[in-house]
């Protein structure tokens, strides 16, 4: 009889193989020899470093193939060890308006806009033209792009069909350029000659706050310049108005920390230009772009704060360009108006810049603002018909008052 059938009945090789899966990996016991040798001054080396041959690859520089990407680390030419805290177009402040007041050393001496702003009555004809402008920018423009995704928090699994239409940025640009041209055509010619509208200009203002280096940057989509500066709004003392308390939070929270930067103060208009003085800035608020770091909804107070910081940036960069970089208390206050909108809700603000010293207790800057005013309730298609419902002429009266103010 052959022995193999009996011997092969159990596949012993398979057992060895499985045994090896466990025994082929070992964890050596720590005898503590390394510490003893180190104490005696004998260095312990890893044998693997000697067993494995080291291959050093030669680096070949290919000339002219592609622009080299500068690494974003300490070797970057603009690297600084002290971080710069920046506020840019997409940021919001955590604490909203109180934090912005702390950063810019501003106080609200009264609610709403000052008495100097008189809302003019507007004609029926102007209202009719402005309604056309709103429809033209919100509905009748030919742009068709994919709009942001819509999600219902109650039904997160549901995917809505993607809608196409006019992008927020486009609608904003159209609305303001058309609105301003309507206002210009209906205003006094001598006044219109005083004003000058610019697009896409950059402001930047840097300063020090409690030992931190801070820089505000702003892109002005529309900036209205004027031949003469705006008159100061108030002469009231600001000493008795206190800044808000943010305990236990520092006012520089949620500013971007950057190590690669250039500190600069930019005012976009050349000195000696006939229209040198800023009059009104128009700020776009796109909720798809302007977000909290923690991706929660931007609050009303944060929108107000954005308005104040942007106005301060433009006003302070102008003051620095006008009076030099060492000036603290301004000889004559700088006044600047701001209109922030997401295309529907309008926020109006006026800043009177008394001082560039953000730690000053004596003199503070003065900020006036309105809560959000809706331009309309609904602007869209209703059963296939273009509809503009709930038009609010107060918004246009505010814009007109801002345009006319001297």
């Amino acid at each position: 009889m052959r022995k193999t059938p009996c011997l092969f009945r159990q596949h012993i090789g398979w057992h060895f193989q499985n045994h090896w899966k466990v025994q082929g990996r070992r964890r050596p016991l720590d005898t503590g020899i390394e510490n003893i040798l180190n104490e005696k001054g004998i260095q312990v080396e890893n044998p693997r470093e000697f067993l494995k041959e080291k291959v050093i690859h030669e680096r070949v520089e290919v000339v002219g193939y592609k622009n080299k990407v500068t690494p974003q680390d300490k070797t970057h030419p603009n690297w600084h060890d002290q971080p710069l805290l920046t506020f840019k177009d997409n940021n919001v402040l955590l604490e909203g308006l109180p934090q912005a007041k702390m950063l810019t050393n501003s106080v609200e001496i009264k609610e709403g806009l000052p008495e100097t702003v008189q809302l003019p009555e507007i004609t029926k004809e102007l209202n009719r033209r402005i309604k056309k402008v709103i429809l033209g920018s919100k509905i009748f423009d030919a742009e068709q792009v994919k709009l942001p995704k819509v999600k219902d928090p109650e039904r997160p699994a549901w995917n809505f069909p993607r809608s196409y239409g006019i992008s927020q940025n486009r609608a904003y640009n159209l609305l303001f350029s058309k609105l301003l041209s309507v206002i210009e055509s209906s205003s006094d010619l001598e006044l219109v000659k005083q004003r000058y509208l610019t697009n896409n200009v950059n402001f930047s203002y840097s300063f020090e706050k409690n030992g931190d280096l801070v820089q505000f940057q702003l892109t002005g989509d529309f900036v209205l310049l004027s031949k003469t500066p705006l008159n100061p709004v108030t002469t009231q003392s600001t000493k008795e108005f206190d800044l808000p308390d943010l305990y236990p939070i520092k006012p520089t929270i949620t500013l971007n920390e950057e190590n690669i930067y250039v500190v600069e103060d930019t005012y976009p208009v050349k000195k000696g230009s006939p229209v040198y003085h800023p009059h009104t800035i128009f700020i776009n608020f796109d909720k798809e772009v302007v977000k909290n770091l923690f991706e929660e909804e931007v609050t009303q107070s944060q929108i107000y704060a954005r308005n104040l910081i942007k106005t301060f940036t433009a006003a302070a960069s102008y003051a620095k360009a006008l009076y030099g970089s060492n000036v603290k208390n301004l000889p004559t206050p700088v006044t600047l108006q701001a209109i922030q909108t997401d295309g529907k809700t309008f926020h109006f603000g006026i800043l009177q810049l008394n001082t560039l010293d953000v730690d000053s207790k004596e003199t503070k800057n003065v900020w006036y603002q309105t809560p959000g005013l809706p331009l309309f309730e609904k602007c869209g298609y209703d059963l296939g018909k273009p509809v503009l419902a709930g038009y609010n002429k107060d918004v246009v009266r505010h814009i007109l008052a801002f345009y006319n103010s001297k």
């Binding site: 193999t4 011997l7 092969f8 596949h11 012993i12 090789g13 060895f16 193989q17 045994h19 090896w20 899966k21 025994q23 082929g24 990996r25 070992r26 964890r27 050596p28 016991l29 720590d30 955590l94 997160p156 699994a157 305990y247 236990p248 939070i249 520092k250 520089t252 929270i253 949620t254 770091l293 923690f294 991706e295 929660e296």
Partner: protein
């Protein structure tokens, strides 16, 4: 003509060596090491953590119960569902060793899809971080953190973090460290809390976890006071099969037996109090031998490959 020459070439006797595959390995399964469950590694999702702590919600990759290394299915019943961003919780509540405690303000209470209890965004100085929200925590609350153990127990409020030794007996706590410096580890689930039971020798404190097990921990272990938020979570039915799929769970296996009592509670006495000892920091690396099999000669050694 050339075609003819080529066909003659093929007939030549140069290629007499034919590669014969000695062992036929087709159909033989490749051995892949699969991880076992229950060792602190989750197979639901991996989170792409950056180097520096951030409150920006992090991107995740859902695994569907698969091991990311081998790609093999490890846990059944996971897959699909709504993708949630991950809120990175700062588990280490570090406060001053002496002097007044660190004060933080609650900015927002956030519902997090990746965990059962709610998450609170807190801020102090110029730092933002997430912690687990307690039952009655609300926006604007000031919470304290201290590592100091005073002689008289402190009177702590909800959300405050203190060492176990600083709190009076009977306090409800959560997010308890297993050993000092680890970060909150025990009791994270919605609506749960542990209770400080008694003191033990060697400066240890005994706590009872929600599973009624007792742990004896060093008194320096940090913990947060109060009961975790979203209490109704455990008493809320999922509602429908579809809702369960939205949560990322697949249908049950069908192996659970209601009537035999096989999966029921066993009557045993509770385990004794477990004293937790910090593991040795240095763990020696495992060595994997380069040979792929045991060197042994068997009768069927020709089949070893």
């Amino acid at each position: 003509m050339s075609q003819l020459a080529r066909s003659f070439q093929r007939l030549s006797l140069n290629n007499t060596f034919i590669d014969i595959q000695k062992v036929f390995i087709r159909g033989k399964a490749k051995y892949v090491e699969k991880p076992t469950t229950g060792h602190g590694v989750a197979f639901r999702r991996i989170i792409h953590f950056p180097e520096k702590y951030t409150v920006k919600p992090l991107n995740v990759t859902n695994l569907g119960g698969r091991d990311p290394q081998s790609g093999r299915l490890v846990v059944k019943g996971i897959g699909g569902g709504i993708k949630h961003k991950y809120h990175w919780i700062d588990w280490k509540r570090v406060g001053p060793k002496e002097g007044p405690p660190l004060v933080e303000r609650v900015i927002k209470i956030i519902k997090d899809g990746c965990r059962t209890s709610n998450v609170a965004l807190v801020a102090s100085a110029d730092k933002l971080k997430y912690i687990l929200a307690t039952e009655n925590m609300k926006v604007g609350d000031l919470i304290k953190t201290s590592c100091h153990i005073p002689r008289i127990p402190v009177r702590a409020n909800e959300g405050d973090a203190y060492p176990l030794g600083a709190l009076p007996l009977g306090t409800q706590i959560h997010c308890v460290e297993k050993y000092p410096g680890l970060g909150g580890f025990l009791v994270h689930s919605a609506g749960t809390y542990a209770t400080i039971l008694r003191k033990a020798p060697n400066n240890h404190i005994v706590i009872m976890t929600p599973s009624k097990k007792e742990f004896s921990l060093p008194e320096e272990c940090m913990c947060t006071v109060g009961r975790l938020s979203n209490i109704e979570h455990s008493s809320t039915p999922i509602g429908s099969a579809q809702k369960n799929r939205e949560l990322g769970n697949r249908p049950r296996s069908g192996l659970w037996q209601r009537k035999t009592g096989r999966h029921g509670r066993k009557i045993r006495r509770p385990p004794p109090t477990k004293t937790i000892v910090a593991p040795n920091a240095e763990k020696i690396d495992e060595i994997i031998f380069s040979s792929d099999r045991y060197f042994v000669r068997t009768l069927r050694s020709q089949f070893h490959y």
